[in-house]
Structures are given as C-alpha cells and as structure tokens.
Symmetry: C2
Subunit: 153 residues, 2 copies
C-alpha cells in the first residue's frame, strides 16, 4: 500500500467527507449525502476553514480521500490556562477499514496536538461503539469521563 | 436571595474563576491560585475573550462572582453542518452550593445555546463525579457517550 498523506481538507473534499460521515450506523440517520450537497455543509466548512483553532483533516491515498477527522484546539482557563485538543467526526472509508489507517490518522492528530502545545487530547464516542472504545484504548486513551448530551431543537 | 446575574467574564474575574476551579478535589491538583495569578491564565483568557465562539461566563450575586462555566460553540460538518455547544469548567463557589445556582447557570447556558442555533449541548464529567452525573441527568442530559482522554506532556 502506498503512503497515506494527511492534509487539511479543501472545499472539494466535502462530498467525500459527508459520504464517510453518513456511511455509518449512527451517521446514516443524520447526514444528507446528496448532489449537490445541502448548502449548510459548505457554510459550516467556511467557518471551520477560517478558524485557526479548527483543522478538518483528510487522509489521502493515491489521490483519494479515504479518512477524515476534525481536530479542534480549545483555549481553556483550567489546567493553568493550557490548550486542549479535541477530536470529532473520525471516519475511515468502509473499503479501507482494518488496515491501520484510523490508527495512523489518530497518531498524526496526537502528534499535531503535541506540536501545538495541547496538554490533553479529548474525545467522546457513543456508548454503542464498542470497537471504537477498544481502538482508542489501544492508542492510550483512558475511559475517565462520562460524555453527556442534551439535544436541542 | 437576590437574583443571580449571568454575564461574560472580564479580566478582573479571573482570580475568582481560578479560585473556584481550584477549590475542588480534582481541580486542586491542577490549578495555582496564587497572587498574582500565573501569566498563563491571562494569556488563555485573552484567547477566549477574543474568540466569538467562546463565552466564559460568571454568575454574580450581590456583586460577587459565585459561579462560572465556559460555553464553547463548535462549527461541525456532521449533523448537516449544524453548530454544537459544549460546556466546560462548571463550578459554583463552595459557600453557595445546593441553592440551585448551578442548575440556573446551566439552564442559562442551554438557553444561550438555543439562541445561537446549536443542535446539542455536550459535556463530559469525570467518572468519579457522581453528584454531577445526577445533576446533569435532572437537566435532561443523557449518558450516551464515553469520554476518553489522552494526557500529553
């Protein structure tokens, strides 16, 4: 297998990113993988792309986007004002799963968080995603917290 | 009891905020409540204060800061590009606990998240904070996720 590259997503990657987010038991109920994509996705992309504390990442193999994650840097008063890193929306294309690409992508994100001086990488994963729990534990993450959500309108 | 006011924190509130963060079984190991405060707190405050997606809030009673939370708005591709709200660093001054102030402060934050169009309010709370789990459940939060953390240097 050729080397997987990690880079910041462009506008042109959005259809691939939304397809990966939607191709999943939870994501399929949330996303609209239409052509053209609903405008709301592009509006969110512009906000993310213009904020230096957000890095929307794609993993690219042979010119194709096959993985994605959203890395966020959060300034915080706690821990003596140190920066946190947060990872959201991690996906690997169904056809490229179980090849170590997710792990490589997360290691890249951890390295990036280190470079920017974050003291922690935090994420939440749905209680039902047991494979993900094991995956993150192997990468050194601890199940120290409860993730709670309140849905609004 | 007089009415509790909620407002965006100023530079002058930082010592009170850090004192509340540190006056806690977990926070006491993390914070340095010195006078003057370490410069790192002020640097973080400036970053938070200059970013419209961050709202560091204090609850004020009779001119005194007696509660704090950090409300963060996160643009996201998932959920059709809808905004998320995240709550971090929630504290009520020890002398004003069990008076409903934390609940009022969280309801204020939920209302604010609604106003800004967030589709969810998310937070994590340490596994050991069982009182907090019950507190957030009463407010309608669901224990749907596992919160995982990886400490860096």
């Amino acid at each position: 297998m050729n080397k997987v590259l990690f880079r910041v997503a462009t506008h042109q990657d959005l259809p691939d990113i939304v397809r990966m987010l939607g191709d999943d038991k939870l994501g399929s109920q949330r996303e609209r993988c239409e052509e053209p994509l609903p405008e709301s996705y592009y509006a969110a992309f512009e906000q993310i792309n213009s904020d230096p504390n957000h890095e929307l990442i794609v993993a690219e193999l042979d010119g194709k986007a096959i993985g994605t994650l959203h890395l966020i840097f959060l300034p915080s008063i706690s821990y003596q004002g140190r920066l946190r890193a947060q990872v959201e929306s991690v996906r690997v294309d169904r056809e490229y799963q179980n090849l170590g690409i997710g792990s490589e992508m997360m290691q890249w994100a951890i390295e990036r968080a280190n470079e920017r001086g974050a003291h922690v990488v935090q994420l939440t994963t749905h209680n039902s995603r047991e494979d993900a729990h094991r995956f993150y534990e192997k990468l050194g993450f601890e199940k120290s917290h409860l993730g709670m959500k309140l849905s609004l309108k």
